[in-house]
Symmetry: C2
Subunit: 453 residues, 2 copies
Amino acid sequence: MTDYLDTHKQRFLDELLELLRIPSVSADSAFKDDVRRAAEYVKEKLLAAGLDKAELYETAGHPVVYGEKIVDPAKPTVLVYGHYDVQPADPYDLWQTPPFEPTIRNERIYARGACDDKGQFYMHIKAIEAMVATDGLPCNVKVMIEGEEEVGSDHLGTFVAQNRDMLKADVILISDTSIISNETPSLETGLRGLSYVEVEVTGPNRDLHSGVYGGGVANPINVLCDMIASLKDENGQIAIPGFYDKVVDLSDADRAELAKAPFDLDEYKRDLGIAEVAGEVGYSTNERTSIRPTLDVNGIWGGYIGQGAKTVLPSKASAKISMRLVPDQNPDEITELFARHFTAIAPPTVTVKVTPHHGGLPYVTPTDSVEFEAASRAFEQAWGKKPIPTRGGGSIPIVALFERELGIKSILMGFGLDSDALHSPNESYGLFNFYKGIETIPYFYKNYAALKQ
Amino acid sequence: MTDYLDTHKQRFLDELLELLRIPSVSADSAFKDDVRRAAEYVKEKLLAAGLDKAELYETAGHPVVYGEKIVDPAKPTVLVYGHYDVQPADPYDLWQTPPFEPTIRNERIYARGACDDKGQFYMHIKAIEAMVATDGLPCNVKVMIEGEEEVGSDHLGTFVAQNRDMLKADVILISDTSIISNETPSLETGLRGLSYVEVEVTGPNRDLHSGVYGGGVANPINVLCDMIASLKDENGQIAIPGFYDKVVDLSDADRAELAKAPFDLDEYKRDLGIAEVAGEVGYSTNERTSIRPTLDVNGIWGGYIGQGAKTVLPSKASAKISMRLVPDQNPDEITELFARHFTAIAPPTVTVKVTPHHGGLPYVTPTDSVEFEAASRAFEQAWGKKPIPTRGGGSIPIVALFERELGIKSILMGFGLDSDALHSPNESYGLFNFYKGIETIPYFYKNYAALKQ
């Protein structure tokens, strides 16, 4: 195994770079064909890795790539999930090297999708190739790589529901999260859910001259700012009635457990270039970003945003707002609560439109399961260290969907780092993490096959 | 005179349409050459109108067009001011017909600059042509048309200071304001000043993943909204310390006089498509838009504003904010007060940058002067009605500058309507107003020459 990985190191990397050159941005229809090209590429590589079959499954949106290799129906089956679509790369001008021209600098791969999630799911394809080519697969494997994760996996639910039998498995293995550091491996035991909405505030029926009308007519930008500002109170709590009703507070024991994860606040601030952190009063930074819900404006626009000065009192102002959710908040309920509240607080001088974008349920995985044990040991074997259980702040809505539709738990065996700049300019993924991941995954299969006997 | 105006009606209009086809947007350097083309066109037309001379005067920005005709040094001299530059036309998609392809619909000229200010200053050139071609000019005339009014007339101050003798005159005549309605002519006796700033709020040194960092790091968009929201109190008053210190409150008598101007609130709301007006408590809509200062966000942007959803916690958020000022507020002082306050209220989690764009002093003109009388009578003669004195909400910073540099008062003899959609998509100017203006202006010269004897 080790020899095989060493021998083919360079090819594994070249193949990933090839995939990274395809701008598979699912959010922007301008990239529709590239998204499909990425799917085709993944399919080829699944077959090349030795799977019995691999196909593109059409959906109402971007296709799902599915492949499998059944070595022995009696053996346990691992379902690998990942996504070949990527976040939009703008603002392009902030990239040191073009987002879709992957570049290796100081032992890191710089490209949109390098870590999220191309670099991470591709490790699985290479690990499978290595197992097939050497000792053989100790478990059956099914691989499902979708193309709409960055836009809410809108059509995966239908796909999963329609292919329950095909997707039947004992565990779902996902690498789309991060570890604490390369010195401190960790395994995520939970994820936050998501509610994402777009709001539009309309004042006058046309843009107005701010001199002629200014002072006498409500300005939708000012109004939008007032409304957004009112969504949080002075303690950093979200002021939407009912928002916290279903939030499960962690026990002091659990909070103490989480607090064990090494964290250096000064280093954190230095890395982000900020003088102070901010957040909900009464919680640590790690808690604010994992076990507590949030509300962030992801985008705002209105009026004249070009060069120079334009004295306009605009007709409209808009914002994209997302809320990260924790157990047991329900995205549909939260979206509904938000919409009702946001409409209720709108002054009579404007009209408000709230459009839900997408959402996802929060998720928690048990740490006392055979699956978690197999993953934990795999890290010990490959990294020489027991991974620390952590709660992640991000969202992989699909994880909760899998549990509901297929009744299968997921193992979040991610190898990225928070500093990989996911969703940001200059996203990167460490070569160390890429290769270490490929080395760790086969151990999981071995451990899992053994533990299930 | 009347015959001459009738005979050349169509040509006057065609010449204006030709001028309107030149996209002389001063705020955007992409239109630099078009701005110059507009200046050249104005110069030609000044010469064609019969002026002794007309030239382009270079400045550090866009050129100033100046021309004059001295009929008799003993006669009073009228200095006409206008601007050939226009506001940016975006959002283009909201225009029924392209902004720079003037179209006549229901007796109105639709084009960017149709009213502000090409349509209005061009009336003067045609009125001068008519006087020269018929009874001759009763006064000397000097014409100064600049190309930077929409960006704060940054270089006109220097030009005026350097050409005091050349610009020597007895009165400045400006058509860049509006009348109450075509049934109710009016003369503006005051203008608001302006302070225009751009603010930038920076949080983390890069865009972040809102899942990984959300809740633990201050979001610059949320912070910007908080800061903007805090700039006004619950009474609609601007909460910047010292902002109102120099505001001159009108006497009840003056307020009563202003209240005489016909105003239909329901019609006003219907025209704008709003259910309610808004503004400073204790003042009427007319007062809020004329004798009271304002603060409006003219533009705001930050984060992801493209198609679909991007879960980003952005590094920066920005806004363009303008404040309309009234006597005796000083734009430099107000800009300074704003900058100091905005920086002071910034939380330690972000850094703030405030960049002043441009400003202008408020202005009030006496109604008991020979100049005002000459203008008032001109309306009576051409419209058969005495014009109502009103206070305008817009700003023509240059007016205050003229008084300071040249010691000359300005007469604001505008012919536009508030409904002309200045600075908005589908800006228009009524053919009636264009022709009526050309008819009214010569009366002013006659009256003024007579009254000055």
